[in-house]
């Protein structure tokens, strides 16, 4: 066990942890917007898959990673709007429409992959960029400032999301609509529009989350590339108490423990691999259980808004 806490190991954990956290951050921040506005989108994983495929496909055929990223964002937006249409306009049971969206995204991304790409191919994705100055810091530089742009982007998105939610008039509308839509409506705020916007934004970020997998972290696409990361992302929104900083904490905890258990397998061979793999899930639950968790979910979460009721 002791060797687990030597500097090189800790550096390795931090390096891998930061990479692993990236897709969770994008997706969970997006879901935070959706849920803050009152929409529970369980289909994040499906959107991520579509985003991952679109980014990979476009990058593969145009050679432009940025076009790929844009494609992921656009496709994510469309998927988000599809969810919005079903859950907001058609007032569907959100717990279920999300599952539908997931099935759809999982199926369609695989289908498109099969028919357009065919077999597993790799591309050269976003390369690590050493940040000037910061990148030269002795140890920290290697861990924190030699990642690809999409990784930096995920971490920059956190304060940005916080600012939008807490400091702007848009954020005010979002929080009001998720908490007390009737009140917002009575002041002329367009509840439907706000929810569409947030669900759409959630889709865009989920799409980018997928792209970060396919064109920055693994540089390939295969069927079910996300393997359920979208569901973890939704869980992390609850973990973070619907606050971007909380989401960051959750994503880092989960990812660092995941990186940690890999090292544990290497350095503590007698440890059963299957048990090590459980750690991130166990610890995430445990962390939330012990943390005094006072934050309440948005009062109108998953409740369609009907004018003149109650």
């Amino acid at each position: 066990m002791a060797e687990l806490f030597t500097l090189p190991v800790l550096l390795g954990i931090a390096f891998s942890g930061i990479r692993l956290a990236t897709p969770y951050l994008y997706a969970a921040l997006g879901e935070t917007f959706a849920q803050r506005s009152g929409v529970l989108n369980l289909g994040v994983d499906g959107i991520m898959l579509m985003g991952a495929f679109s980014a990979f496909f476009v990058a593969l055929n145009t050679g432009s990673l940025w076009l790929g990223l844009a494609a992921a964002a656009v496709v994510g937006l469309l998927m988000g709007l599809l969810m919005a249409l079903v859950s907001i306009t058609f007032k569907a049971e959100q717990g279920i429409s999300g599952i539908g969206l997931y099935m759809f995204g999982l199926g369609l991304s695989s289908l498109l992959f099969r028919t357009t790409v065919g077999t597993v191919k790799t591309i050269s994705g976003f390369q690590p960029v050493k940040l000037p100055l910061l990148g030269d810091l002795p140890i920290l530089g290697d861990i924190f400032f030699r990642h690809s742009l999409l990784v930096y982007g995920a971490f920059l998105a956190v304060p940005l999301a916080w600012f939008i939610l807490e400091r702007t008039t848009w954020g005010l509308k979002i929080r009001a609509v998720g908490q007390q839509p009737a009140a917002a409506d009575s002041l002329g705020v367009n509840v439907t529009a706000v929810r569409y916007a947030c669900t759409g934004l959630g889709g865009v970020l989920a799409g980018i989350a997928g792209a970060s997998l396919s064109i920055a972290l693994t540089n390939l696409f295969q069927e079910n590339l996300t393997s359920g990361q979208g569901f973890i992302a939704v869980a992390l929104v609850y973990f973070g108490g619907w606050r971007p900083l909380g989401v960051l904490g959750g994503a880092l905890l989960f990812s660092f423990v995941n990186a940690f258990q890999l090292w544990m397998q290497v350095l503590v061979p007698e440890m059963e691999a299957d048990i090590a793999v459980m750690l991130p899930y166990l610890l995430t639950i445990a962390a939330l259980a012990v943390a005094v968790n006072r934050t309440r979910q948005p009062a109108a979460l998953a409740k369609p808004f009907e004018r003149g009721e109650a």
């Binding site: 569907a92 717990g95 279920i96 429409s97 539908g100 199926g107 369609l108 569901f231 869980a235 459980m278």
Partner: protein, 383 residues
């Protein structure tokens, strides 16, 4: 309560309308039953375009889909085989839903049930079938229930949201199965042959669920599921515990004032939900595979949620809904074979169907409301 009225249920709502004001509002009924069908049709229409793009003939494909599922006795039986675990999972989902708890954890609960059942049936293989089978069913139910109880407890005592905990519990169950099938529970024959396939020893014949139709996979679990569906209906609308559970789901505040221990009933709902999902795992082991193997859940933990919705979150509605959804899965496979398209198309279609159906539900509700308003207007004029 003599006439149960799931709020979501357009069907029963229209029925109630009928009870109140003759003549019967056939329009509402038609809307309640017809629209989902319409939605499915619409989804398949979109699917037809995809098929065309894949260079397959949609007509041939859908002929195979419908024929394969409902056209042959084999197809019907196969649909029923799939409907069985779907129904069991759906029943659990419905109970949780009624207590306003979302259970995403069915996948893990199925695994828990299957693990326990396999272990129990092998450990007590000496027992005679009539004792072994029921005991194994109970063991699996208990294991699934335990897997649901943990999130329930976390929610009730520590306010840990069930979506988070059930998602995590799914992953934990999966790894637990990997662990056991990797060593402790692996089939000794696999070790002997040096093939190390991740599957348990085959259960002794007397531990299997009896076959309903010889030489098919249709087993007694199907009957069990239907009986349980009726039981759940009875529980929710004919027992005081069910009444309290629904009260907790509808208004925790009012329930508290009425002296109902809200956390306890949220916990109960998740525990029962887990138990039913666990049973789905058991019948898959005792009725279909006769052993534990990777991928035992076949995604029923999610598709069960869909079946529950198709049944309008009503235990009895879930019976036909599960069968229809099951036959959809069967027909889609047949279609894949018939026109040799990638199997991913199946998932795509199902996703579309779900989205269209959940969407159509609202349209149905609104149409009914409009009709009601029209009726009201007339009465208003008269009155």
């Amino acid at each position: 309560m003599t006439q149960p009225r799931p709020p979501v249920s357009q069907l029963s709502q229209s029925l109630r309308q009928r009870k109140r004001s003759a003549p019967p509002q056939w329009g509402d009924l038609a809307a309640a039953l017809g629209l989902p069908a319409l939605a499915v049709a619409a989804a398949l229409l979109v699917g037809a375009l995809v098929l065309l793009m894949l260079g397959a003939n949609p007509l041939e494909a859908y002929a195979a889909l419908i024929g394969g599922a409902l056209g042959t006795s084999a197809g019907l039986i196969q649909s029923a085989v799939k409907a069985t675990p779907l129904l069991l999972v759906a029943l659990g989902i419905i109970i949780a839903f009624r207590a306003n708890v979302i259970n995403i954890g069915a996948e893990g609960q199925i695994i828990a049930g299957a693990l326990a059942a396999t272990w129990f049936a092998l450990a007590f293989r000496a027992w005679p079938g009539p004792a072994l089978v029921p005991a194994t069913l109970l063991a699996g139910f208990a294991a699934g229930a335990a897997w649901g109880f943990v999130p329930g407890l976390l929610k009730a005592r520590l306010g840990v949201n069930e979506i988070l905990s059930t998602v995590m519990m799914n992953a934990i169950a999966l790894q637990l199965m990997n662990l056991l099938l990797g060593g402790p529970m692996i089939d000794p024959a696999e070790v002997a042959a040096g093939t190390f396939i991740a599957q348990s020893e085959r259960l002794p014949q007397h531990a299997w669920l009896p076959r309903l139709v010889p030489q098919t996979l249709l087993h007694a679990g199907a009957i069990l599921a239907i009986v349980l569906a009726v039981g759940v209906y009875f529980f929710l609308w004919r027992t005081s515990a069910g009444y309290r559970l629904r009260a907790v789901g509808q208004s925790p505040e009012a329930a508290r004032y009425a002296g109902i221990p809200v956390p306890a009933y949220q916990m109960l709902s998740l525990t029962l939900a887990g138990g039913f999902a666990g049973l789905a795992g058991v019948v898959e082991v005792l009725g279909v595979h006769h052993r534990l193997l990777e991928g035992i859940t076949s995604g029923y933990g999610f598709s069960g949620i869909v079946a529950a919705l198709f049944g309008k979150l009503h235990p009895l509605g879930a019976i036909p809904a599960s069968f229809l959804f099951g036959s959809l899965l069967v027909g889609a496979d047949k279609m894949q074979r018939a026109v040799q398209v990638p199997s991913a198309l199946v998932g795509t279609l199902l996703g579309l169907v779900v989205l269209f159906v959940v969407g159509s539900d609202y349209v149905a509700r609104r149409q009914a409301a409009r009709r009601a308003a029209a009726r009201a207007a007339e009465e208003g004029e008269r009155g």
